[in-house]
Structure formats: C-alpha cells, structure tokens
Symmetry: C2
Subunit: 537 residues, 2 copies
Amino acid sequence: MRGLISDVPLSLTHIFGRAERLFPSKRIITAAGGVRRETTYGAWAARTRRLAGVLDALGVSEHGRVGTFAWNSDRHLELYYAAPCSGRVLHTLNIRLFPEQVTYAVNHAADEVIFVDRSLLPIFLPLVSTFETVRHFVVMDDGADHPVPEGPGWLDYEELLAAAEPAELCAQDEQRAAAMCYTSGTTGNPKGVVYSHRAMVLHALGSLGADSLAISERDTVLPVVPMFHANAWGLAHSPVMAGATLVFPGSNLSATAIADLLEHERVTLAAGVPTIWQAVAAELDGRDLSALTRIFSGGAPVPKALSEEYRERIGIPMLQAWGMTEISPIGSVSRVKSTLGDPHDPQLADVRATAGLPVPLIELRIVDQEDGTELPWDGVARGELQATGQWVAAGYYDDARSHESFTADGWLRTGDVATIDAEGYVRLVDRTKDVIKSGGEWISSVELENEIMAHPQVREACVVGVPDERWGERPLACVVPLAPGDLTAEEVRAFLTSRVAKWWLPERIEFIDEVPKTSVGKFDKKALRARFSASAG
Amino acid sequence: MRGLISDVPLSLTHIFGRAERLFPSKRIITAAGGVRRETTYGAWAARTRRLAGVLDALGVSEHGRVGTFAWNSDRHLELYYAAPCSGRVLHTLNIRLFPEQVTYAVNHAADEVIFVDRSLLPIFLPLVSTFETVRHFVVMDDGADHPVPEGPGWLDYEELLAAAEPAELCAQDEQRAAAMCYTSGTTGNPKGVVYSHRAMVLHALGSLGADSLAISERDTVLPVVPMFHANAWGLAHSPVMAGATLVFPGSNLSATAIADLLEHERVTLAAGVPTIWQAVAAELDGRDLSALTRIFSGGAPVPKALSEEYRERIGIPMLQAWGMTEISPIGSVSRVKSTLGDPHDPQLADVRATAGLPVPLIELRIVDQEDGTELPWDGVARGELQATGQWVAAGYYDDARSHESFTADGWLRTGDVATIDAEGYVRLVDRTKDVIKSGGEWISSVELENEIMAHPQVREACVVGVPDERWGERPLACVVPLAPGDLTAEEVRAFLTSRVAKWWLPERIEFIDEVPKTSVGKFDKKALRARFSASAG
C-alpha cells in the first residue's frame, strides 16, 4: 500500500521560488573589491532568470557543466541557481587546487563555460590553454584591475546579462545532477562528487534545524567558507530557503575585513575554518559584535583554546561542524545535550570540541580497520568513521577509484579514524592513512602532534609512521621549534613522558624549518614520509 | 546526468533509530489517569520493537491497518512507530467523530486490530459489533475502572508486550503508506488521507526549522493536540527526531491538568487548539511558567485578544500554525518577518493573528472560485486557498470523491477562502462553502460573525447564506444573546452599521438558543441553512 501524497520533486527551483516570492525585499550584500554592493532577493531572482537566459543564448547543453572560478558573491549566488534550475550542472572549481588539478577537473567534468572573477585572472589565465571543452569564458568584474583578454570566447558578465531574456525555470527531477565539486585529495587526481537536487534541498532544510545551524529569516549570515568548495557548507542554499540576509566577503578574506563585516553588517551567524577565526581573534578588541549569536567552525578540528577564547571574549563558544565534500558537506554538529548541562558551561569545552552528533537524516558508524566489524559506541574503540544518508555521495563521477571509498553496503569510508561515545559524540582521532600501527597497537599521529605542540618552545609538529623491523611501524616526529637550536629531542621526549603512553614516545625526532603543506593548507604527511622513510635506521 | 548520492529511503525507521541511539536517556512522561508515568526513549524503543513483535504474533498482514482509539500517551507513541516501522499502516481513529463515522473509517480502512484506551471503552464498546474486519482488540489500561470485555479477540497490551519477542525494524520504501487519518467533514462519510514514510519524515524535519516549530533536543514538548487526529501536528515525530523530552497529557485535558503539566514538567513548547488556550488562560495566575518559550495554536484562528493576553501575562505571544489533515498537517506558520519588526511588538498582533507564511517545501496560491485563474498576492483579492508540496495529499483512499478536492494540476483545494498579501501572509476569510455571493459580490460569513460577536450582548453568532430572488443570496444571522429577549434585530443592525459595508447588513436576524455544532465542535452551518432556507421570505 502506497501513500497518497503529491508527487512533487525536491528541486532547487523550490528554494529559488520561495526566496523570490516571500522575501523579495531581503538583502544580499557583497564586499566587492572594497566596494559594498547591496541587492535584494527580488533583484537577484530577476537577474538569475536572465542568467539562465544567458546560458541558453551561449548554447550550454541540456546537462552542460557550468564552471565557476570565483569568490563568494551575489553573482556566484546567481550561478548557484541559474545553472541547476535550468537543468545544467554547476561546477565550482576550487581556486586553491594545484593548477594541474584544476585542469583535470575542468576537462574531466567537460565544462562548457567558466565564469571567472576578474581578480582571479592572474592564476586562471595560465590554465586556459589546457582546457579541452570550454567554449566561453565569462569575466565577472569584481573591481580588480587585471587586464581582461579580448577576442572570441571572452565575454563580460554584466553585458551578457543586460542583453539576455529571462528564462523559465522549471522544477527538476530530484535525482538530476545539480552541482559538482572535486575533492582535493593529497594523492592522484581530484575526484568529482555529483550532488542531486534532492540532496541539496534536504541538506538546506536540515541546516534550518534548531540543533543544526538553526538558520532563520531573522539571521544575517556571513559565509566565510568558500562557495568554490563543498557548497559553502550549504550556505548558498539554506539562508536563501530561510530568507536570511546574506553577506558575501568577496576576495578580501583578511582578518580585518572579516571583522569589519561582522561588526558593520550586524552579522548573526558566521561560518569558516579555524584558521580564519584564529586570525579574527586578534581583531576583536573594541568592536561591537553584539549581533553575533553563533560562529560555526569546520573543515578542521577547532583548538579548544580558540573556542574558549571566543566564549570568554564575546560570550559565545564556537560551534563545531564536521563534514566532507562527499557529505554535501554537513555530517555532524557539536551541540551540547541538555542532559550534559548548559551549552556555555566552561566545563563542557571538551564536548564542544568534538565533531558532535550526527544530524538528522545522516547515520554514522565506526568500523574496525582490519576486519570491517562495527565497533561499539563506548568512547574507546577506534575505527574508521563511515557515513550514509540523504546527502552522502554514493560514488565519484566517472572514476574507477570509487570502489575504494565505499563499502559493499554502500556507506562512505570517510578516511577518518574516530571514537563515538555512548552519547553519540564523534571524536576524530586521525586519518586512516596517517594512524600508526606499532606492535599491533594503534598510535594516533594527531594526538601525538597535539601533545608535542603543547610544548611552549614548539611552533608546529607533524608525526608520521615510518617502517620498523621490530614493531612494524614507529612514530617519527618532525618538530619546528620557535627558535632553531633551542630545543633538543631529549627535552621533547621528557615533556611527553607524563602526557602519553610510554610506547607512544617517538625514538626519532627531526627538527625541520617548516611542515610542508598541501594545496588546501593541510600537513603534507606524504611528503614527510617520503623524505624520512628513506633515511630510516 | 544524475546525482551520485546514496539511495537511502526517507523512512520513519530513521527517526526511531536516531532517538534510540542518540537519546536513550531522554524522557517521555505520560499523565495516565492521575498517575505520572515516566520512561525513556531507550525503554520506549525496546518496547516498540517488542510491540512490532506483537503485531507479528497477532498475524497482522504485511500492509495491515493498525487502528488506535486512544489519548496521547507513551503507548500511543509506541504504536506510532511499531506499525509503520514494521511495514504496517497506523490508523488513528478520531474518538470525537460520530459513531457511524468511526464505523465507516474502521471498515473502509479494513483495520485488522484496534488498540483502545481502557478509559475510552464506554464510547468504543457500542461500536464493536459494527466492525467488519477487526480480529483483535487490545486494551491499554490507563487507570480507568471501566470493565474490560473478556473472551476471544480481547487482549491486554502489557500482557502481549511482556510475552513478545522484539522484531527487527527495517528501513521502508519511502513511498510506502505509514499512516492513515480520516477527515471529519460535515457532509457525507469521512475521507481517508494516506501518509507516506517520506511525507512524515520530511514534515518532521521541516518542523525542526528555526522559523517553523524550531524543536530542539533542549525542548520539553507538550502536545495537547491529539495524536488521534492529523499526527498531533507532527509532534509524534519531530520531538522524537530531535530527542526532545515529551510530555503526554493522557485523558485529562482539563485546563487545570494542562496548566499543572506546563508548570511541573517545565514545558518549553506546548501546542493545541485555541479553545484549550482560552481555558488555560484562567489558570495562569500564580504559576511559574518561566520555562515556556512558545505556545503554538492551530486548528482554528486564534482570537487576537487571546494571543495578546498570553503575551501580556507570560511574555510570549501565541504563535499560529495553519494546516489540514490533508497537509500532514502544517502548511504555514505565523512568524513575524524581521523586516516588519520585533516579533513581540504589540503593534504586530494582526500579523501574528494571520495564518502566516508557507513553510519550506510547501507552496500556496489563491484561485478565483469561478474561473480558476490565479489571483495576485495583494492582500485584497480573495480566492480559494490551494496547496501543493512534499506532505500534501494527492487523493483520498479508495474514494470516488477525490477529484472534487484536487485541481487538474494536482493542487489540494483546501476549501478555505483567503487573501495573501505581498509579504506572503495568508489571511483566512471563510470556507468556500460558507461564503455568500450577493449581487455578484462576496460576503464573508466569518467576518460578519466576528463583527456581530463584538457586540457586548451577543454570546454567539453564526451567519449563513440563504437564497434570495433579487440578489441570488443574502446573509442570514443567527444570534445567541447573552440574555434572551434583551436584544433586538434593529440593535444588532445599528451596531453593525459603522463596522461593515451597507450591503453586508443582514435583513434577517434570527435569535436562537444555541448554535448547532458538528462532531468536532465547529458551527454546523449546514443544519442552520436547512432550518432557515425553508422558511425564507
């Protein structure tokens, strides 16, 4: 027996139409190259309809991929709806990938057109000759003075829009591809995640939830997290669904610029990676941030000290969200349960610092890395974190490597090692490829790094596993001292003695000038392993 | 091109599993016949699994309808999940329907088993012989001392549960029927709405939204609105999804009992019809209701004076929700937009008194009753309110009357006449069948009633249209005076002169002792029309 309910697809056109119809006077603000641009959902919607007309006029095909190489802006938001609501697929290119990775993504997705911010032309132009399928480049003038190429294929965004007829935007099949984003793995080519309309709409609806981001029409939302990666944590969708005021930072992500926006636009909800909040912390003094009710941090664990600094200085603790490009991206949010106490209680900083509880419509589990059995939620057992649910990827676009990342029963292998406690709080321990197996026991490279970095003379520390004849693997610590020559390996080991188990103590400690980083700023452990494994012994 | 996202159904098993896994220690409280019963989601989940085992043991078929005739309680909540999560269909019987309507619903749905509260046996037992398909009656002892029938087919809930094995609950196809509810129309037999798993899960997720009910794990929710009708506004699903504390009032819905629960259980969110809140208003004095953050009212328009009384006395205005059994039921929620001002502003009482804005995933429109064209959102044009969306019915169960209630393009005809203003706020004007067409213009029977009832000497007033040779139809006002004989038709008309258009003034005013009511307590205009149309002239 089937339910008798309207057969209406979950289509991004619903979010678009809702903002256009219910919130035409609500504002969208963009800090564009030092100039403040303000528009409304009503004007944005009219431009978005015309932008869909531009895609028609350019001959972009029925499911054609529409690339963007752009900062967060009202124009990027137009593309976020004009492409999928006219049946095309938005392809946000991560401007921070290595050049050859961008080339791969453009060619692999077969982008037909790319919309690029003028300020990004210096890093974009050298790639243009490597693109095989792109027929048009549309420049969005964001006030930068870089010269724009002329000639066939090069077009101006505002000129096209002024000349275009609005297109009719129809509800799309909910399984239809709405957007693509390539992940920035440290090895091999990037892998393409393909989001459906259904996943995007459900992810947005979930983000309105009181225990998720709780986005309301009354909010003023500042997505510092980029729209060119993982849907800006859904912040190009959920505030539009809610009719919230949106503030886009454009190309200037300096701490001062962000703090200025927080203060002058009376932002209530801001979202970004911890390094942003670390930098902004230095800008808090003397500012009126009384409108701010929550700061969401994700992309990397929030240092507890940073979260506590915000709680003490502006009265709100940082709220942590965990996710992945493959999870659209929100998988869990670190809300303090009422049974544990007040959400602002200093004693609960450890809870707030976890990856949190899985959000509705997402399920998580931890699995033994060797035999694949599911592990108990006891806060002790460590295993690979796996995910399934309404907005979790089921594979990568046209990629033979898909099977490596998904289990036989269809769950995403996140590559994270985690514990889950009896309350359901997820604590990330390490990446599966970085955890060190020594004498049959696991050592967390991340935990060991954190303990070493607690030493006052240490600037950075990175721990990798190196082959060992007796134990299989042993940890090797690469340490960047504050002042070169001031710290010895013995001092580091002595400091660690009271902080970690004896068998975690690294025999090898190498002092280096800097930890090598990947394209997205994470520790490049592959490079360190290659450098030191060779000289083992 | 299709999205590459996990193919996971939207199944109520997800809500069930989430509460069981993440919130096992959270509480469910039931006021059962004067005795306070407290359990946890963990214990509830274990009992629900055993209850599914009971359904297996009773031989309830694969899609078998499981009737309930019961108050709001933890046991009713067990049924809300045991039936659909094991593939059956929950059929909540409205205990306030006329007896012959209950019989019709049971036989039309072909219920195989009915779970009945012991306190309801006096109204249930006389019907039993009229049921054609029911093989088992399971009595839930709620402390009432009515004798329980013995003999074949009569079973005890707790005995069955104690003897049962837990069943495995598997994710269900999202289009599968999860529940049924028959509407209580004033004419003809009730009509069955069939809810899918998908609709129930999406309705619950939507209810967590910050601008909808905003249900959080930190809430303590008191659904006064009955679980036997329209899913208790989703409050049997959304608080479970959120892990909120639930408080069920059982059979005692007296104002004192409700006020006691509000105070003693530290309820944060309560939901019910305006008549409940009208009665509870007399119980507010001297109570500590400091935990209460919102009162949702629906089912009928909230009198502005009542909403303002709550705002003035306990600091929170009443929030109005509008919906229908056919909309699962929430269609709109009356949140004050930030652009209009502070949500507590006394000046905005008129906005708070509207039916509100359509919630995400629901779309509304108004349509000319004669030519079917869509009308503008200008706050003036009046037309039939129509709805579509993720949890709007597409038809009635096995019912030839379905086509009358749905348009050719699949929208639900709500039977309400409404205006929608430029902001999107819906104002209900009348029912389509009650609006009066006089000389080519529409007269709202509801507005005319409200104006008459504003007269200090009037207890109740009900306006119906009666045939008129010259004008087609004219309004006839049935008035119940506070003191019989103290009020004349001339006085009523004189009072109305400054309040309504001249052509609205009713020529005929009949003084009656009482307005006849339907089974669910609404004015029975059909009966009045029959009574006075005959004597027209």
